[in-house]
Amino acid sequence: MIDVKDIIKPENLVFKKSKVLTDTPMHYCPGCSHGVVHNLIAEVIEEMEIQETTIGVAPVGCSVFAYNYIDIDWHEAAHGRAPAVATGIKRLMPDKFVFTYQGDGDLAAIGTAETIHACNRGENITIVFINNGIYGMTGGQMAPTTLEGMVASTCPSGRDHARDGYPIKMSDLVAQLPGTCYVTRQAVHTAGAVRKAKKAIRKAFENQKRKKGVSLVEVVSTCNSGWKMSPVDANNWMAENMFPFYPLGDLKDE
């Protein structure tokens, strides 16, 4: 007979919180995808042993405080400007690992120009793009990625393309640019998806050594608060509604 006490021993440890995560409790709503992606980035940094050589660029959005959780040097960018900030850092310190962490409003609305041009110049950076189809931080307004018919506080009867335009597929757009070397769309709603997403983030960081341009990992995510659902329902809703429009998988891998 084996007791739980006999299993919980250091030699049997198979998973624990990454050392690159701080002990600060995250401010995110329960079940928010941001936390899962933070964990993955921290694990990748830990496994690649690049904590001392990685610089993160935080966005304006719910993840504005990402620097409180991942224990590396950081830059807090203005809303949408992270790819330009990352460009400045990487151009001046080409041997450092530089990544941006951006929401969909940040990357695909106010920062569209900075995103596209950093991608087009082929900056040797990693972009982690959290697409939750909404402006989480400001209280659930419509994002450029909000699905048609999807309800948000500034389209309470659902996004109508005649008035609001169409949801934008930024990953598809930047995959067209010769300056990107790796563009992939992932999710973190199941353990299997999380494992794949981690591999993608790892690859996106490894690519900086090859100096082949931008690696962008889009993570189709939930914002259960903004969507007004439970975390579990939000994951199900995402699989049913977001994945058909934002299908998972690699868009480019060179």
Partner: protein, 78 residues
């Protein structure tokens, strides 16, 4: 109890009771507690500890990195 091969430890005060680990667990090991933690969340715990295989699925999906997973080496878990 011969089938026990894995176990989890939940950092109760970090847990936000989101329930994502509960649905991610293939063996229905985890339940949300009736009690609440210091922040008022019904935290996750092993309701059915014998079932845990130490697969780490719950830890992978936990947004708040609350879960530590232990697993016995196969020879020990017979």
């Amino acid at each position: 109890m011969g089938k026990v091969r894995g176990a989890i430890v939940v950092d109760i005060e970090r847990c936000k009771g989101c329930g994502l680990c509960v649905v991610a667990c293939p063996t229905d090991t985890i339940v949300l507690a009736d009690e609440v933690n210091g922040k008022g969340y019904h935290y996750a715990k092993m309701g059915n500890p014998e079932a845990c295989t130490g697969c780490t699925n719950c830890a992978m999906v936990c947004p708040d990195s609350c879960i530590t997973v232990y697993r016995l080496k196969p020879e020990k878990s017979k």
